[in-house]
Symmetry: C2
Subunit: 196 residues, 2 copies
DNA sequence: TCCGTGATGACACTGTGTGTCATCACGGAC
DNA sequence: GTCCGTGATGACACACAGTGTCATCACGGA
């Protein structure tokens, strides 16, 4: 079992999630996680750069995937439409690959630790940066690209959270619902005519 | 000079900023900062909870101030208008109290460290949470409140960065410009009629 | 003058994250 | 079948963040 162990990383993630849920994130040491996974503390840091990252395994691929999806959208589509099109095509596929149970357990741990929420925001920022870059490559002017990317990242986060909390609505539907809400708030929101 | 030293906290912040700029955030230890400020490593942690927070001194008051400003806005105003009104009244006052030089130096340090960017996003999230809470107290429905708060937080961040990079435009003007951009992107952005 | 209070220094300790080296299993070369 | 390169791991050792605890010292008031 010691040598040739392709499941070591997965064992670390499950061990970490279990221990975090059982004793609380701050009361679990890296040595605890490694021990339950049958590894050494030093080896933990060969799979993950730090104690927080173990909860976000795989998330490093999302920015690149989203970037490609946006670049693959209709070149004539306006920025937000391109992002939404990319989310429509990837959203269900991504959410289905995760599983509600695992997501819910992760959610509970993250919501209990400021440190983990900080890291989660970093992941969201990485998504935003990827969208930003993809939009610029499509020719969107930089200011609009950055803004649309950040707002889309907020909407994605909101929709994802709604999906994870109640499994009845699809991620894509939630995303469009969030944007409808935003549209309404923006339309009557600043006391100035919509077409200034 | 040792006893009765009201300027200890400020000495720590300036020492930290100087050292971070001179040697890079990661190459500066808390002991270095404390020494330059004429204090002990242990005393540093009596003024700041950690090494990052020293760059954000005073920011803990912003959420409460914004909250009060939103609650003080016209009760009949729609959510986003209330937030913008609050920002209009506070924005210039806040930016003037900071000073371009200090903000620019801080910006350079933060942009050079992922750890500090993470903390900055946490500060932004605190602003968003305060806006969210204030809007709910005004009677805004929770979904709209959270969304408007997060989007406003993004807009504030964008406007603040623009202001800090070029001193020619006011913070308030930048904020409205950002929202105009967003309005335009949202209007033609999803390929669906604005009034679905 | 004495004492309570609050800020500080000194010290010890846990835990994260990193560098370095020895070791061991595996697969391929011969 | 034996030998060797490679890669993953364990075993230290270390710097540093952050925390608890206690002694000390200056200050202001009784």
């Amino acid at each position: 079992m010691a040598r040739w162990d392709p499941g070591a990383q997965e064992r670390l993630t499950t061990a970490a999630l279990d221990l975090y849920l059982e004793h609380g994130y701050e009361n679990v040491t890296v040595a605890d996680i490694a021990e339950r996974a049958g590894l050494t503390r030093r080896s933990f840091f060969r799979y993950f750069p730090d104690k927080r990252e173990v909860l976000f395994a795989g998330s490093e691929r999302l920015p690149a995937v989203l970037r490609e999806a946006v670049l693959g959208a209709d070149p004539a589509a306006p920025p937000l439409a391109a992002v939404l099109d990319a989310c429509d095509r990837l959203g269900t596929q991504l959410t289905e690959a995760l599983g509600h149970d695992h997501v819910a357990r992760r959610r509970a741990v993250i919501d209990s630790s400021a440190e983990l929420q900080e890291r989660e925001r970093t992941k969201s920022a990485a998504v935003s940066a990827a969208l930003d870059e993809a939009l610029r490559e499509r020719g969107t002017d930089p200011a609009t690209a950055t803004l649309v990317a950040q707002v889309a990242s907020v909407a994605i986060g909101q929709a994802f959270r709604r999906w994870s909390e109640s499994a009845d609505a699809s991620f894509t539907d939630g995303l469009h619902a969030v944007l409808d809400t935003l549209r309404a708030a923006l339309a009557d929101g600043d006391g100035r005519p919509p077409r200034a």
